[in-house]
């Protein structure tokens, strides 16, 4: 996980209403985004998989 700790903390804080597995996934997502590693479809997947019902 090469996401900077600061950013990681921020993510966890921002997503504190979400379940943990989701948060981890999201961190992975951000990691890839920062590295510009996503195709548009993968981003779309991420949009679709966001669960609107926060836990």
């Amino acid at each position: 996980m090469s996401v900077d700790k600061n950013i990681r903390d921020v993510i966890e804080e921002t997503l504190n209403n979400y379940k943990q597995p989701f948060i981890e996934e999201f961190i992975t997502f951000i990691d890839h985004v920062l590295l510009d590693a996503y195709t548009d479809d993968e981003v779309l997947d991420r949009i679709n998989s966001i669960d609107l019902n926060e836990e």
Binding site: T14, I30, L34, D36, I47
Partner: protein, 634 residues
């Protein structure tokens, strides 16, 4: 990621026709490499080319710029710049091929992992995302950047942070018209964007469904009609066939009877002729006749009629001399005989009377006319009459013709009616495009089109709903990402701020310069107007903080780092810099030696390279002594 620069090779670039600068010794990278190069030889060029080697941006360079790298007053068509690097200890060679004729730069990478030299820049997928132009220029450092970091309305500082932490990639995703917006717009299925629009579609859908119901009812009713017509037709046809068959049977019967009658008449004719033949014999006609004739015959026999002796016998006898008894016949006898001969019939008469007698005594057996002929004839006549009666009855009955004609008309009418109804039904039910176009059918006229229309509306609604969901989700994600971005920036800035201020204090001990906050640029506390030296110091402090906070080990390549700095600051920078970076490459002019470069003279892990021009040649000297004493012409 650990990036080291090991060697720089020039060929036909500016003053560097053929120059190799080694930054390592015995495979070990020197911590500090100070390259003394007079102005005008190619420091700036070197910086640019090193950047290109890393940021893959050479193809965007304008041809004039490329051509400007050509050695002055030369005809060289090509030049070459090589950077030998190691990335995470993997050695790679980056080659820039400069085409002076066309103003292009091409890349060649020798990456062992990719199996030898290949076209293009490929430093590996792990590294490439890190080496974007705006990031590369942070460590292949352009001195001007220092000023920008402090300039209001200049976002260099913020951008530097962004670049380092790749938050610009993050922004690219959530910003307006960024990746998310782009994806959403691409994937927007429907063109309905408002609640009202959705309501409109829903109303249309309701109406369309009603219409469909109506059409279906119409279809059902038409089908019933057709069914009814069909059964009526079936019944009528059957009835007509029955009549025709009846007629056919009658005709057959009729023919039969007529034939029979014909035969009977033939037979009657035969019998009549036979009857007539029989009647020609009177004794067949009546027993009275036959009795009378028999009586007459018997009497004739009894009465010996005719006498057997004929007159002629006696006349002949009278002429004889002698009688049959032997007595002589004289004249007297002759006269008596002649006289008496008159009592006897002539032969002819005897003959005919005999014939008569014979006939009437030998009548053939009486034919019973009644039994033989009359009764039979009567019977046959009766049959004929019976048949004729039957024939006339049949005749009457073949007046089915009227009924048949009636039914034929009815069938024709039904057929016509069925055709019309079928046509109408077809309009409602056809799903053939040609027909729909031919009859100019709309969705209100045709079930298939109506269903398509409904499907379209339903799909739109579904898509709209999907779109809404997608949009709302994307909105949410954007919000989250935006939040993460801004919060991250804040946090990073805070950290960097603190650390930078610390570092600033170290370097600018005597001056109270604080970065009060990092907005888009570094905002200083209280001070209006900062000197160039101070600016540089702040920049290095900032950069070094940045890099120290990042996971990367990057070389710091800088061009005239200390020129504007005063001696004290120079010293500080010279002291600090090595602590900030694992590899430092500094291009200086001789004027920067004092205060800056001389700080390193005692430092073991340091290269001192002097590049100078002598006449038309460019010479390299790697000794410290030479370095110390070198004076350029300026």
């Amino acid at each position: 990621m650990k990036l080291d620069i090991r060697r720089i090779t020039y060929k036909n670039i500016r003053e560097m026709k053929d120059l190799t600068i080694n930054l390592e010794e015995s495979d070990k990278i020197k911590h500090i490499s100070v390259i003394q190069m007079p102005n005008g030889i190619g420091k700036t060029t070197t910086m640019e080319l090193i950047r290109y080697c890393l940021d893959n941006n050479a193809e965007n360079v304008r041809p004039e710029i490329v051509k400007s790298f050509k050695p002055p007053k030369s005809d060289f068509l090509n030049g070459e710049f090589q950077l030998l690097v190691s990335i995470d200890n993997q050695i790679m060679n980056i080659k820039l091929l400069l085409d002076y004729e066309n103003g292009h730069i091409l890349y060649r990478t020798n990456n062992p992992k990719k199996g030898g030299e290949i076209d293009g820049l490929d430093l590996g997928d792990a590294i490439a995302p890190w080496l974007r132009s705006n990031f590369v220029r942070l460590f292949i450092f352009d001195g001007e950047l220092a000023g920008e970091l402090l300039e209001a309305d200049n976002t260099s500082a913020e951008n530097a942070i962004r670049a380092l932490y790749h938050l610009d990639n993050l922004k690219a995703i959530y910003e307006d018209d960024g990746t998310i917006d782009k994806i959403i717009n691409q994937r927007m299925l429907s063109n309905i964007k408002t609640e009202q629009g959705k309501k409109n579609i829903e109303t249309k859908l309701r109406n369309a469904r009603e219409k469909k119901n109506h059409i279906e009812q119409e279809i059902s009713s038409l089908k019933s009609s057709i069914d009814s017509i069909n059964s009526q037709m079936k019944a009528a046809i059957k009835k007509r066939n029955d009549y025709r068959a009846e007629d056919a049977r009658f005709i057959e019967k009729y023919q039969e009877l007529i034939s029979t009658n014909q035969l009977l008449e033939e037979q009657i004719k035969e019998l009549s002729e036979k009857l007539l033949e029989a009647m020609r014999s009177p004794h067949n006609l009546s027993t009275v006749f036959s009795d009378n004739l028999r009586n007459l015959g018997d009497q004739m026999g009894k009465l010996k009629l005719p006498k057997t002796q004929s007159m002629e016998f006696f006349i002949e006898l009278s002429e004889s001399i002698e009688c049959v008894c032997g007595r002589p016949i004289g004249e007297t006898e002759k006269q008596i005989i002649l006289e008496n001969s008159k009592n006897y019939l002539s032969e002819d008469n005897i003959g005919i009377i005999n014939i008569i007698k014979t006939h009437i005594r030998n009548l053939s057996e009486k034919v019973d006319l009644e039994e033989e002929y009359i009764n039979k004839i009567k019977e046959k006549n009766r049959n004929i009459r019976t048949n004729e009666r039957r024939i006339s009855i049949l005749d009457r009955k073949t007046k089915n013709k009227e009924k048949i004609d009636e039914l034929t008309q009815k069938i024709a009418d039904l057929t016509s009616s069925k055709q019309d109804t079928t046509e109408l039904l077809k309009l409602y039910t056809t799903n053939k495009k040609e027909e729909q176009e031919l009859y100019k059918l709309g969705w209100e006229d045709n079930l298939n089109l109506c269903e398509s229309y409904i499907a379209g509306l339903e799909s739109q609604i579904a898509m709209t709903e999907q779109d809404f969901i997608l949009r709302s989700k994307s909105k949410k994600l954007k919000k989250i990402l935006s939040e993460i971005d801004s919060k991250s920036m804040e946090k990073l800035k805070t950290n960097i701020l603190l650390n930078t201020n610390d570092k600033i204090k170290k370097i600018l001990k005597r001056n109270e310069i604080n970065i009060s906050r990092i907005g888009s640029h570094l905002v200083l506390d209280d001070r209006e107007g900062v000197s160039e030296g101070q600016k540089l110091s702040i920049a290095y402090a900032f950069l070094s903080t940045l890099f120290s906070q990042s996971p990367h080990e990057l070389p710091f390549v800088v061009d005239t780092p200390a020129a504007p700095l005063d001696l004290a600051v120079r010293r500080e920078v010279a002291e600090t810099l090595p602590q900030l970076f694992k590899q430092i490459i500094v291009f200086i002019t001789s004027s920067e030696r004092d205060g800056f470069a001389n700080q390193f003279y005692t430092y073991d892990n340091c290269n001192f390279i002097t590049i100078r021009k002598e006449g038309i040649n460019l010479l390299q000297d790697n000794s410290l002594e030479f370095f110390k004493n070198f004076q350029s012409e300026e």
